[in-house]
Symmetry: C2
Subunit: 260 residues, 2 copies
C-alpha cells in the first residue's frame, strides 16, 4: 500500500530574523498541501539576547559552545520567543500549529556530546525519534513546529542542530509516511558554479553526486549538507529539496531535488 | 453515565523559583493518579530577566503592565525557560508532558483587555477554550503543561493570569470530565484566623461561604480567589482544592475543599 505523503520544511535563522520574510514564508507553508512539519533554528536572535544579558557567545569550528547560561538563552529564544510567535502567526493563517522541543511528548531524545578536543557543553546528538507519538499529533490534524532543542530523558535539555533534527525526524517519520524534506536557505539550490546563482542543478541522484564529487564541482560548504542528504535518503527518506522558500510554490521548479 | 475524572493543578511563582521545591512538587504531580493538566506562572523569573535586559517592570494595582518588550520577556521565560524545563523534568519522571501556550492547537483564545483608566498593554482576557482539541492530547496519553500565555487568533500572544487560565480551562474541560482544580499556594488552605496557619477550614460550600462573608471572616486577599472558585463551580467544575503542594498526597487532608 502506498504511504501517505509528509513534508518536513526547515527554515534557518535568516528568515526568522526578517519579520516580512517570515510572514511570507509562513503563508507559503500554510498553503502547502497535505501533512507537514516545520523545523526552525533562530541563532542570531539568541546571540543578540545573550549579548544583552552579558553572556559571550563562544564559537568553535563554526559551532556554538553551549554552557549552562547559553542553554538558558537558547531555551528562552528558540523554545519561547521564536517558537511561540511562529505558532501564533500560523494560527492566524488557519494552520493548527503546536510548538515542540524534543522534550515535549518525549519526541526527540539525544545524548550529550562526549568531550574530545572540544567541550561543546549542553549539545545533544539525536538518539531516537518517537515517530508514533509525533504521528498522534499529525493524526489529530495538528501541525508540529519543532525548535532546535532536544532532551536526554533525564531532565536535561540539549541544544541540537536544526538540520540534524530535520533529517532525523524525516528518517523516523519514514516508517509511516513517504517523507520529503525541504531545506530552505538563501541560495536557489545546489549550484554548478558558486559565482552564478542561476546555475542551479535541478536534480541530483547518487550517480550525479559521485560524478560531482569526483570533478570537485560541489562547494565546500555544501559537501556536509549533501552527505547528510544521502544519509537520510539511504535511511528511508524519499526526496530532499534544497532552495529558497519559493520552492514551496508549485509554479517554481528552480531548486535542487535530490533522490537516490 | 458518570464522567471520567480530570485534575487541573496550578502552581505559582514561589515553587518555580525554588529548584528543590519544584522537583518535589513535580514528583507529587507525576504520582497523581488519573488524567491531569498542569498550569504554571513564573513571575519573579520574568522580572529578574527583564531587569537584566534593562526593561523596567511596571506594576499597577498589583498587576504587570505588559508592553511589547515585556511580552517578549514573558514569552521567553514562561513559554521557553520555565515551561520547557518543567516538561523535561516531568519526562524524567515518566510523565509524558507537552508544554503549551494558548496559541498551541489554538487551545485558549483571549481578547486584549480594553484600555480604561489603565492600559495594561498586551494582556488578554480569556474568550474560549478548545476543550475538544485539548482532549485529543489527553486521549493520546499526553499531559498538557500550560504557561500563562494566550493568543488573540490574529497572531498576537497575550499575557494572561495563570489562575484565570486554570479556572477557564477547568470550566471548558467540564464538558467532558468531572473536573477538580488544585490551587497550590503557600498557605495550608483558607484560614479561619489569618494569624493561625493551622486554622484551615477543611470544607467550604455555598452556605458556609455566605456565612463567612457575612461574618467578615475571609481575609481580603482570599476574597477574589473564592469568588472565582464559586464562579467556576457554578459553571460545571466539581471540586476546588486550595492548600500547599502536600494536598496532592492521599495521606494529607489538611487543606480546603470547596464545593457548591
Amino acid at each position: 500500500m502506498a504511504k501517505e505523503k509528509l513534508s518536513i520544511v526547515k527554515i534557518g535563522g535568516n528568515i526568522i530574523e526578517d519579520e516580512s520574510a517570515l510572514l511570507a514564508f509562513l503563508e507559503l507553508f500554510s498553503n502547502l498541501e497535505g501533512k507537514k512539519i516545520l523545523v526552525h533554528g533562530g541563532g542570531k536572535r539568541a546571540t543578540h539576547i545573550a549579548s544583552k544579558l552579558g553572556i559571550e557567545s563562544k564559537m568553535v569550528q563554526g559551532r556554538r559552545i553551549t554552557d549552562a547560561e547559553t542553554l538558558e538563552v537558547i531555551t528562552m529564544v528558540y523554545g519561547g520567543l521564536v517558537n511561540k510567535n511562529v505558532v501564533a502567526k500560523l494560527q492566524a493563517l488557519n494552520t493548527n500549529a503546536i510548538g515542540l522541543t524534543g522534550a515535549d511528548i518525549n519526541s526527540i531524545t539525544s545524548v550529550k556530546r562526549p568531550v574530545k578536543e572540544v567541550d561543546f557543553g549542553f549539545v545533544g546528538d539525536v538518539k531516537s525519534v518517537a515517530h508514533q507519538s509525533v504521528n498522534k499529533l499529525i493524526e489529530a490534524d495538528f501541525t508540529p513546529v519543532f525548535c532546535a532543542i532536544t532532551h536526554d530523558g533525564k531532565g536535561q535539555l540539549l541544544n541540537t542542530n536544526a538540520d540534524t533534527i530535520t533529517s532525523q525526524l524525516a528518517i523516523g517519520m519514514s516508517a509511516l509516511y513517504e517523507t520529503s524534506i525541504y531545506y530552505c536557505f538563501e541560495l536557489n539550490g545546489v549550484l554548478k558554479d558558486i559565482n552564478d546563482k542561476n546555475s542551479v542543478i535541478k536534480h541530483i541522484d547518487s550517480n550525479l553526486y559521485k560524478d560531482l564529487l569526483e570533478k570537485g564541482i560541489i562547494a565546500d560548504g555544501m559537501l556536509p549538507k549533501l552527505e547528510n542528504c544521502f544519509d537520510a535518503l539511504n535511511h528511508g527518506v524519499s526526496t530532499i529539496n534544497m532552495g529558497n522558500t519559493a520552492m514551496l510554490t508549485k509554479e517554481n521548479d528552480n531548486f535542487t531535488r535530490i533522490t537516490l
